[in-house]
Symmetry: C2
Subunit: 212 residues, 2 copies
Amino acid sequence: MPQQDRAYATREAILHAAAEEFDQHGYERTSLTAVLARAGLTKGAFYFHFPSKDAVAGALVERQNELWAELRESWRARGADPLSALHGMFAESADRMAADVVLRAGVRLNAEREVGYPGVPNTHVMWEKLIATYVAEAGERGDLLPGVDPEAVARTLCSAALGARLISSATTACADFPKRIREVLAHVLPCVASSRWKLSGSQKTPEGPDGP
Amino acid sequence: MPQQDRAYATREAILHAAAEEFDQHGYERTSLTAVLARAGLTKGAFYFHFPSKDAVAGALVERQNELWAELRESWRARGADPLSALHGMFAESADRMAADVVLRAGVRLNAEREVGYPGVPNTHVMWEKLIATYVAEAGERGDLLPGVDPEAVARTLCSAALGARLISSATTACADFPKRIREVLAHVLPCVASSRWKLSGSQKTPEGPDGP
């Protein structure tokens, strides 16, 4: 294997091993020693790729951000209406997180940062704004019931998605996150969508790996 | 002040000072020294009341449980229908938490335990079961739309309430929690309630301290 590929493979092995440890034990209680043992690597190999445990954690959080950028682009490319895109992105992100420990670890690390350091760089506000733009766009198209406040819908969806992933993580290691996120969507979107949107049928998102 | 009252006052002073510290810094980064400095007490006074930092944290979590027991009893005594009682309990608990650092600290400590120790004594499952009994009872009375699954509603409400309090805590020190929890209720309950319940008008809960 060329040297560049080998370096890439080692970096991925570190990320995967660290993700397994962070996912199970959280940031504070994950030791570099355990990560190295799991990856079968030396400290030297580790420090060639990452300056610290914090740097690996940062890379894992970054993966999660990349996932969302990818999902946004994918649903834009499909030409989905805004509410259907929201439904699809929430559902797909849950499917991917349930299946991939690297994404899941990013979620947990983010959650720990959010709980542990209130006030610090706040991703919630950013997320709520992003989701609100989709809902507002739906309103402009006539896909919302009269009087629906896009920002309130965004706050409700972001709260429910955060809570769903934390509870799912704490109770089933995220196995039921796909089901939980679809329940959230099914209990909120019909409350705010106009019959025009509901009748269009465009909101159909494939069921999760385990069905509805 | 009689000795018993003084002991009670000291215990409350410790709880309050610890709540302020936990609320701001979380469990791990709160030191006993900071708690004592805030309360103006010696280590001896502290250890007379609590064997450890963990014991104070446990007492604060217990306060939150007592709040819910009290709210349940209060809404039962009012003879509210189950959905109205749910609405009232969620809204009132948010009002009380926003106003009282002792309750807020309990919430944060609980959240940290939940995030930090997945699998360990799980309060989520207990909460979801409790909320589901209210929703199921509403169904038996004809207050739900046909086909509504009480457990799915309970999971959605618990997720959204947990997420709302974490986001509110991280962004506004819980100041907007009363508003956020009412938004959640307004975006979920009308989705599942029958027109019989909606027309009964019994779901009216007083607005939070800051209005709707």
